[in-house]
């Protein structure tokens, strides 16, 4: 019989495990504490989002949790889950949603056209006042949005109420993000040396820009574009203060739902907002926090 041998073999790991236990236990205690702390933080941060999400489709009056009366067509009055608030929000605030979307896309386009060269000038330019230009570009991020809005209204009262006035307001906030992304990337490697190499190979200024500089910046420009989109789409201060009925953005519509409408409607509107913005934020996160943190440091 081989039994004794197998017992011996089996006993060995047990012994090792006993030796290792105290150390492992200490680690797991601190780990457990950390996990608990994380759970608390996550709970505090996420629960409002969860509440809003639940509120957007759960029929609270059906549950008996609320006496709030939703004046709809009443077809969903007796079901637990309802999407009637979504259809209401999408129908009522469609122009604002569309306008915000257009503004964000236009902001991205203009930021690429202006912010990329600006970032290039900041990082690579050799002219007096270069530092000043950089500071000037970052200034709006340090000022309260309300102050800027009031200044804009006073300075350009004549174009108040035009869509491009709101776009202009957004650009003041979004350009720094694009410019910093581009400048930060340009500073992270020796772009000047690459340009010299291209020059020695016979590339003129435009060829250098399009064949060397721009391709090196594609990551930064993508990240910058996403940031610009997110900032523009979510921007409230300028949008709200420059707003006229025709130029209301979705965030100001969101505000309106909280002021004038039921919790369910504003929850649905918030979820619509999150549905647009969360994928963009996820993409930004995925593309790399490096450039983002540089932008934040600059701001």
């Amino acid at each position: 019989m081989n039994l004794p041998a197998s017992i011996e073999v089996a006993a060995l790991p047990v012994e090792r495990a006993r030796e290792a236990t105290p150390r492992r236990a200490r680690i797991s205690t601190s780990k457990r504490l950390l996990i608990a702390l994380l759970a608390v933080i996550l709970f505090v941060v996420i629960s409002p989002v969860v509440v809003v999400m639940l509120g957007s489709f759960l029929n609270t009056s059906f549950l008996g949790l609320s006496s709030e009366q939703w004046v709809g067509d009443g077809s969903d009055a007796n079901s637990l889950i309802t999407f009637q608030w979504f259809s209401y929000v999408l129908k009522l605030y469609q122009p604002q949603l569309l306008f915000s979307f257009q503004l964000a896309v236009l902001s991205v386009v203009v930021c690429i056209l202006i912010g990329v060269p600006a970032g290039y000038l900041i990082a690579r330019g050799d002219f007096p006042g270069r530092r000043w230009l950089e500071e000037l570009l970052l200034l709006p991020l340090a000022l309260p949005g309300i102050a800027i809005s009031i200044a804009l209204i006073q300075a350009y009262a004549i174009i108040r109420g035009r869509w491009y006035f709101v776009l202009f307001g957004h650009l003041i906030y979004t350009l720094p993000f694009m410019a910093r992304c581009v400048a930060g990337t340009l500073r992270s490697f020796d772009c000047a040396e690459l340009e010299r190499a291209a020059q020695s190979l016979g590339a003129g200024p435009w060829q250098r820009f399009f064949f060397v500089v721009l391709p090196s910046l594609r990551h930064a420009i993508t990240l910058g574009a996403l940031l610009v989109f997110a900032v523009s789409f979510g921007e409230f201060n300028v949008s709200f203060l420059l707003m006229t009925p025709l130029t209301a953005t979705f965030p100001s519509a969101l505000y309106a739902t909280y002021t004038f409408n039921s919790f369910q409607v504003s929850s649905a509107a918030t979820v619509v907002f999150l549905a647009v913005i969360l994928p963009v934020l996820a993409l930004i996160q995925w593309l790399g926090g490096d450039e983002l943190s540089k932008v934040e440091q600059g701001a």
Binding site: L194, A197, A198, S200, L201, G202, A203, G204, Q207
Partner: protein
């Protein structure tokens, strides 16, 4: 017939620095040969190269190729290939696309471009890495690609700025040997900037030694090694014992008085103040009877074939390289002599 690259009175002073980075650099570069621009860091060699390349505007002077004045011509129109110390490969392009770059901006079709790029990669012996990106390659491989890229568009002149200094020693020797073979094959006028005298002497057909923005001396490496024009060149190229001395007449003829003794002056030396150079390998251990001087051995470093001795004669320190098999019998007073022809004196 290859045209000649001539540089005339090239000067540059940077705004921040008071002293000129390069002052009155004049030289005719031998066509089809390698000229090594050698000097310590800050001697102005890279600045000179940048001005020849057209990447830096000179304050004064001209650059001519054949009969053509290139002084005001943009770098992109000079048709000079450059290899940078940092390689400067385009990170978003593959090795092959990097090599193709110079052909692409000249509007050469994709097929022809590809053929020539692969030919170049073949030349630098890494055709198998054509589709890799620079970040996936080692320093040595990157430098090969940088070389292939600089050669692909068939430049008139090749400029290399410390191309091997970012590599480790073993790889550097390997690439240096290959570079020497390749450049000899191509017969391309090449300017090779380096601070490494070994690299300069082994690669350069001609050396231009720079010091504080000026040309100190130029010529064939062996000439410069044997007949340096100044103590700076003597000490910069290899190791040297350099002394101030005086040449005088005595009963036996002309002698040179040096801090460690008196030696017979080489032919052609004039009376009066002079400086003298003895290379460490020109000092040999001898018998007490034939000794010209005795020195105390302060330390000895075994270097394989030879041993480097740090010697002292009174206040004077000397270096000597002696064959390792020679025994050091009396380290307190080692009998030594300078080999015949080993003393170089300049007034």
């Amino acid at each position: 017939m290859m045209a000649t690259l001539t540089v005339q009175g090239l000067s540059k002073t940077y705004r921040q620095a008071g002293e000129a980075a390069v002052c009155d650099f004049t030289h005719t570069f031998a066509p089809g040969r390698i000229t090594a621009l050698l000097g310590p860091s800050g001697s102005g060699k890279s600045t000179t190269l940048a001005m020849i390349a057209g990447l830096l505007e000179p304050d004064a002077g001209s650059v001519q190729y054949g009969g053509e004045d290139l002084t005001g011509v943009l770098a992109e129109q000079r048709e000079f290939g450059i290899v940078f110390q940092s390689y400067a490969l385009f990170p978003h392009l593959t090795a092959r696309e990097n090599v193709e770059f110079g052909l692409r901006v000249r509007g050469i079709g994709a097929g022809e471009r590809r053929r020539r790029a692969l030919e170049m990669l073949e030349l630098v012996r890494i055709p198998q890495l054509a589709e890799r990106r620079p970040t996936q390659l080692s320093g040595g491989e990157q430098q090969r690609i940088a070389l292939a890229r600089a050669l692909a568009f068939r430049p008139r002149v090749l400029l290399m700025d410390e191309p091997l200094s970012a590599l480790d020693a073993k790889l550097r020797d390997e690439l240096r040997a290959e570079l020497s073979r390749l450049l000899a094959e191509l017969e391309l006028t090449t300017i090779y900037v380096t601070h490494d005298q070994g690299e300069a002497m082994s690669l350069g057909h001609e050396l231009v030694i720079m010091h504080r923005g000026r040309i100190e001396q130029c010529g064939a490496p062996s000439d410069l090694y044997r007949r340096p024009s100044s103590p700076f060149v003597a000490e910069f190229l290899g190791s040297a014992n350099v002394f101030a001395g005086e040449c005088a007449q005595n009963g036996r003829g002309l002698i040179v008085r040096l801090p460690f003794g008196e030696l017979v002056a080489p032919e052609g030396t004039a009376k009066g103040k002079c400086w003298a150079m003895v290379r460490p390998e020109q000092i040999e251990v001898t018998t007490p009877a034939e000794a010209q001087f005795h020195a105390r051995v302060e330390s000895a470093f075994f270097l394989g074939g030879h041993t480097r001795l740090h010697l002292r004669v009174g206040e004077t320190a000397l270096l000597a390289d002696v064959p390792s098999h020679v025994p050091i019998v009396s380290p307190e007073a080692l009998p030594l002599r300078v080999r015949d022809g080993g003393l170089y004196v300049k007034n």
